[in-house]
């Protein structure tokens, strides 16, 4: 039963919130389109470079974090 569920959805955390996404979901799929420019995404504590977003599929229990730049000084 649980094996079947694992094949139909992947449980991850995104910016601290638990989410389930379809298998094969990539890092690029998780970034809202307004934020495609100008954010960094970390997967399990490591930043995924922009070039790898669409080829990096998320895996069960991945912790993903979208980090926005700030400009103040």
């Amino acid at each position: 039963m649980s094996g079947q569920r694992a094949s139909t959805s992947v449980a991850i955390s995104l910016n601290g919130e638990r989410r389930t996404v379809a298998p094969g979901t990539t890092v690029a799929d998780l970034v809202p389109s307004t934020w495609r420019r100008g954010v960094a995404v970390a997967r399990n504590g490591e930043v995924v470079t922009r070039g790898e977003w669409s080829s990096t599929a998320v895996e069960p229990d991945d912790k993903l974090e979208i980090v926005r730049p700030i400009q103040g000084g």
Binding site: T34, A40, G51, R68, Q71, G72, G73
Partner: protein, 385 residues
């Protein structure tokens, strides 16, 4: 001859905790002998087995190192002052070593007694020592902006005796700056920030050299300014300048100590050429208007002190060559939860600046790149610059 001798705190266990003692002698050697007579054990502290003064002990006669005089054979006169200063983690330079540095920052000469006193809490640290203190004195650090971040960074670098501190700043002090910008005070409102900052830094430490770059940093002047320094610290308040400084520091081969703030949030990292850059982390600026500035959204004054102190600490670590820097790590600070986290960052082989096939090989138009309006020098600053 009655000679007054300053006893450094690590030696005071021999002198019943007295800071100054008076002994008789006609030469430095005789004074040291007299100290051994009156305070047994003293000779073991100031002489090695061959009965020479080891390089880690500096002896000053009236503020002059005895190496520069006649060593222990230097004659002394009534009322002279002798100071024994142990440099715990290293030695003095060869006697007479000098170079072409300015008077205010002689680079490889021994530290003066005043400097040894002023920086004693650093010098006694094994990670600093007299050699580290001289490295700080020789260092040239450029700080972009003399505001929220640039202020505390410059302050701590100045206090620590970083010999040359360059400031790039064109703005004037505004009343709304005073909630967080520690170098500026109420009476400075309306003055150029760079003058206000220079005055405060020199008041804190007159031994340093403050270099004023009274202009906005642009694609036309960035390379020339940055090339004069060893390390660049980013305290800019807008994305266009952040990309400009990143690109210029990389192209000039300089380490960039980066920091940014907003609301209760802070970010800090160190970019070393070859180990990734701002563009590897954020390849594009966010669409204009999506990330507010501090003027638009606000910033907690104290977070500027946190992030600025972290940047200053990273500068010290770079200069001293100690510890593990923030290279390849982005530090994220949330002051609301008081959580500090780091995430690994690395060079992106496809980075347009520092990647394998770079397309950004010289500075570009950063206002256009960021879609931001060109930076304007305020009218009140134009008259003063």
């Amino acid at each position: 001859m009655a000679i007054n001798v300053y006893i450094p705190s690590p030696f005071r266990r021999l002198t019943a905790n007295r800071e100054y003692v008076t002994v008789e002698g006609a030469s430095v050697a005789e004074v040291l002998d007299a100290l051994e007579r009156d305070y047994p054990g003293f000779a073991n502290l100031v002489y090695d087995r061959e009965r020479r003064v080891p390089t880690h002990i500096n002896i000053y006669l009236n503020n002059q190192e005895i190496h520069d005089l006649q060593g222990t054979q230097t004659t002394v006169a009534d009322g002279d002052q002798l100071a024994v200063i142990p440099a715990l983690a290293g030695g003095a330079d060869a006697p007479g070593a000098t170079n072409g540095a300015s008077d205010s920052a002689p680079s490889s000469t021994a530290l003066t007694p005043d400097e040894v006193m002023r920086y004693s809490r650093h010098i006694i640290m094994p990670q600093v020592g007299p050699q580290g203190q001289r490295k700080l004195r020789n260092a040239k650090v450029l700080i972009i902006g003399a505001g929220g971040l640039g202020g505390p960074v410059a302050l701590y670098l100045a206090l620590a005796g970083v010999g040359t501190i360059g400031l790039v700043e064109f703005d004037v002090v505004d009343l709304s700056n005073l909630q967080r910008q520690v170098l500026h005070q109420t009476q400075d409102v309306g003055r150029l920030k760079i003058e206000s900052a220079r005055d405060k830094l020199l008041a804190y430490n007159p031994h340093i050299n403050v270099v004023e770059h009274r202009l906005p940093i642009t694609s036309d002047n960035a390379m020339e300014i940055i090339s004069q320094y060893d390390i660049v610290v980013n305290g800019a308040d807008n994305f266009a300048t952040r990309y400009l400084v990143n690109d210029a520091a990389y192209l000039a081969g300089k380490t960039l100590v980066d920091g940014a703030i907003l609301l209760f949030d802070g970010q800090a990292t160190v970019y070393k050429p070859g180990h990734g850059c701002y563009r590897c982390l954020y390849p594009d600026p966010p669409p204009p208007g999506l990330v507010p500035s501090c003027a638009e959204a606000g910033v907690l004054g104290a977070i500027t002190g946190i992030v600025g102190s972290i940047q200053a600490t990273e500068v010290f670590k770079q200069i001293l060559g100690v510890g593990e820097s923030l290279v390849n790590r982005l530090l994220l600070i949330d002051a609301l939860t008081m959580e500090f986290r780091t995430m690994k960052i690395r060079r992106d082989p496809s980075c347009p600046l520092c990647g394998d096939n770079p397309t950004v090989t010289e500075l570009i138009d950063y206002d256009m790149f960021c879609g931001s309006p060109p930076l304007e020098v305020p009218v009140e600053a134009q008259a003063l610059l």
